[in-house]
Symmetry: C2
Subunit: 125 residues, 2 copies
């Protein structure tokens, strides 16, 4: 597990763990069926409480990324592409909403934003 916890990120620890594991799943660093570290071992490794790790795992399970079995541990569920796309679309939506807030606050026109959008996305051609 390649999880780095920052106090300056603004995100609570359990969310940082969540995100790191999601990233690992997206990038196939963690594959379907693979076991995650036990809550206690990861807690020891990160020098945090196992309850915090458990919270992260609970959220990941609720979101459909992993499955936890008492006495055994947690393992990665088959990637649900739709689910992943949902996640990514939600991330994008949050960015757009922030852009919307900024533009509204700063009197920046929709057209100006659209122009930047085109500029950056045209780059790939």
């Amino acid at each position: 597990m390649n999880i780095i916890i920052t106090n300056s990120s603004g995100l609570p620890i359990f969310e940082q763990i969540e995100n790191a594991i999601k990233e690992a799943i997206f990038s196939d660093e963690l594959k379907e069926g693979e076991m995650l570290p036990s809550v206690r071992s990861l807690a020891n490794e990160l020098k945090i409480s196992f309850l915090t790790v458990k919270r992260a795992y609970d959220e990941l399970e609720k979101a459909g990324f992993i499955k936890t079995v008492q006495g055994k541990g947690s393992y990665v569920l088959p990637k649900n592409l739709d689910l992943i796309k949902e996640e990514k679309l939600k991330e994008i939506q949050e960015h757009i909403e922030k852009i919307y807030e900024i533009s509204k606050l700063s009197n920046i026109s929709k057209d100006e934003v659209n122009e930047m959008f085109k500029m950056i996305f045209e780059e790939e051609l």
Copy 2:
């Protein structure tokens, strides 16, 4: 003052006040030299503590939007639009770049992003 405080916004009250006033300044609803409501009167109006309003005003002063004078009150400073806009455009650009990265990695088409963009920006009617 047209400030609406929501408990569901996720933002602390003092930030909601900050944003509302920034928005009013950008939209010229509040003009240069104009007095803001006193900390106590706005606090009464919003049914919150004057300390919370003071915090919002303090942040606005630190950010260069208003000036507060003891015994008198707070008034709107001259807008430095170019500088502010430059900063805001840079913030927006960073968001768009993140969107670009996400969409590229997740195989989300430019059109899909564009659709979300329209959805969110059309909301304002």
